[in-house]
Symmetry: C2
Subunit: 129 residues, 2 copies
Amino acid sequence: MNIGEVSERSGLPPKTIRYYEDINLVRPLRSDNGYRSFRESDIHKLAFLGRARALGFSIEDCRTLLSLYEDETRESAQVKAVAKEHLTEIDNKIAQLKSMRETLSHLIEACQGDHRPDCPILKGLSRGI
Amino acid sequence: MNIGEVSERSGLPPKTIRYYEDINLVRPLRSDNGYRSFRESDIHKLAFLGRARALGFSIEDCRTLLSLYEDETRESAQVKAVAKEHLTEIDNKIAQLKSMRETLSHLIEACQGDHRPDCPILKGLSRGI
DNA sequence: CTTGAGCTTCCAGTGGCTGGAAGCCTTATC
DNA sequence: GATAAGGCTTCCAGCCACTGGAAGCTCAAG
């Protein structure tokens, strides 16, 4: 199967699929004409990667998860550890964004948003919030 | 004032300050020895930038905010518009992270995390969540 | 005079793609 | 058989906002 169809079936752009080959996440075969030739197992891997990326896992996490997926002797504790660590990162990001949101929304509420130059947002940024 | 002291007083790393000069966010003077020579107003600007960045504004937003800050004829509505748009982006990011968190935490809860290979997290990633 | 800290510039790398150019391959149409 | 369109290939550059490191200059202390 050529890259175009694989792109449609996996939901990943062709550029991304080529990139994943570059960094050895997938290793499609090659046809005589030089085109990449994907097996069903490649598509399955790519879809796996797409879902893991959609959950925010880093590429290196994805590599780990994929190798665990293919390792019949894995222990689910290994997978769970990776996932838990990622969950913590997500929680940290959410907390950081919420804190930004808090400060920013206060400033926005305090600002009249009219034709006059006086602005609490700029004051907050210039004086320390 | 040299970059080291400015770094301490503004809370920004020297590398970042040099970068901000590169992209014309600040324009410190130069001493005869070639060293950057910062005025109080430069430090003020850098601290402003640090706070805006801490609120998650992009560099281009920061450039806009800084120019509004220095423009006496600004209308606070302009500032508020920039801030509101950024707030929306923050809200979108929070929503996306929460959705990831939701899915991921369900998978984690379902996983025993023991020595056996059976793992709902990997199943979820491979079959579609 | 030497040592060490602080400053300079420049280049490369981070993550995860994405855009674009130049050129080969395939398929359909004339 | 020529040609045009579309899909494929590689390679290089760029995105964002820095950050690390090398090579070399300047300055203050001992």
